[in-house]
Symmetry: C2
Subunit: 273 residues, 2 copies
């Protein structure tokens, strides 16, 4: 999917919501556990109930790998279901991969070719030749960790290098990489005021913002500091939406939570389009 | 597996060789492609021919994920084959994972509980709460990237923070984490002279050293600068061993290459035990 396609979907749906599909069998409604593939059934019902309210879905691979082969199969069924039924929805494999050159190419093939995701998240620690193999894929997007929303973000990401924080150095340097126009960045919402400085470095890039809701971030602040003239934001909510209820009404409850966020986003979009 | 168990295996086999099982279907012998599971068949023959010459195997998950469900199944069969037939061999899932707390726990479950690897590689960028969930598993080992063997290592890892290179800061800080005794570190062999300084920071930790052979590192230099009084080294070779031949004799050819390295290692071990 091209960036322009994503932007037009945001306009049409009046939403820049991404829903995180982080399926934990200990948290989903009990009645689903009797199904042949509880993880996929859960995702399918969530997608059926919320697809008109969001522009992206983001399964985090950890939650699938934890269930081994069954989990990987559920991930495959989920992305296939999305691509067949909702081809206008942007899909993110939240995998945080990164390895040396030829190995990163294998990861890129896994997510872009085998599973056919539109994008994948990557970690920057191993530098340019660990990320460029992902950037080589046309109309695919590589979402690199810059400033994450966890407390450990302050261990290394905010240390000073070359007179600026490491995450800013990561942003600056990544702009020089081949096909850097295919980069987006992860920026946690718990530090919304940092977004103003980040926007000075990457004014045009899309930012994937986790941490609104469960992790304490505020939608209005994120928009105030992070929105650009083509929106430039995908705001992710996982637990706050998908675990709104653990009863049979879970999908309806998820849709209500998603709608709350979509309506707040529509207000913010008035200032943009 | 405990660290003492690993050390006693090194003594017994006179080897600290780790063999990387990075299976690329474009590189393996053509006759294997007719088998039902070419990836597993390749690994099985390599393991059968080399298990007496090495103390560890390290499948890199990228090479399995690239083949989707079939690949993940081959990874599962490979680790099961190792655990059933060679329980004294140390197994490393080279996955370079890392995510926020509860999500890292899911990754730890994937590799330590579901697949039953002895260890997994992780990336440090997200800090303490992204790594500690792995460290919580008893008799399991978390091998954190410090200084990698690719050219991109110089993009961020060697930048100066707090008056030292970032990778040294990563080493220092990680020593303060809960259960840090379960940490090992990835240190590329292409910068063997850096090992002397690394040993000052983590004198007792095991270092997993890729980059000997194909990537230009030298075994003698690595031992000179990196060995401690319980060896403290696992030296990995992947392509240099497993792709020694792409004919029907590939497993024998791999064993010859592994034996070359094992014999050099036995000489180095004379200085240690």
């Amino acid at each position: 999917m091209t960036t322009n396609h994503l932007i037009s979907e945001i306009k049409k749906k009046q939403s820049f919501l991404c829903i995180g599909l982080d399926v934990d069998l200990d948290k989903i409604p009990q009645h689903l556990l009797q199904k042949e593939d509880p993880i996929f059934e859960f995702n399918k019902e969530i997608i059926d109930a919320t697809h008109h309210l969001c522009v992206a879905y983001k399964p985090n691979t950890a939650f699938y790998e934890a269930y081994g082969l069954k989990g990987w199969r559920a991930l495959e069924k989920t992305i296939n279901y999305l691509n067949e039924n909702h081809p206008n929805i942007f899909t993110i494999a939240d995998a945080k991969r990164g390895d040396i050159g030829n190995t990163s190419t294998m990861y890129a093939k896994a997510f872009f070719e085998d599973l056919q995701f539109d994008s994948v998240t990557v970690a920057p620690y191993m530098g340019k030749d660990s990320v460029e193999p992902f950037l080589a894929f046309e109309d695919k997007h590589t979402i690199m960790l810059a400033l994450t929303s966890n407390i450990g973000a302050f261990d290394f990401q905010t240390l000073s290098v070359n007179n600026q924080e490491l995450y800013k150095e990561v942003l600056e340097v990544s702009k020089t990489w081949t096909n850097s126009e295919n980069l987006m960045y992860v920026v946690g919402a718990t530090k919304a005021e940092f977004l103003a400085e980040i926007r000075q470095i990457v004014p045009d890039s899309f930012l994937l913002v986790p941490g609104v809701g469960a992790q304490g971030g505020n939608l209005q602040d994120v928009c105030k500091y992070g929105m650009n003239d083509t929106v430039g934001l995908l705001i992710n909510s996982s637990r706050g939406i998908i675990y709104a209820s653990n009863k049979e009404d879970f999908a309806t409850a998820a849709a209500h939570k998603a709608q709350d966020l979509q309506q707040q986003m529509a207000v913010e979009l008035n200032d943009c389009f």
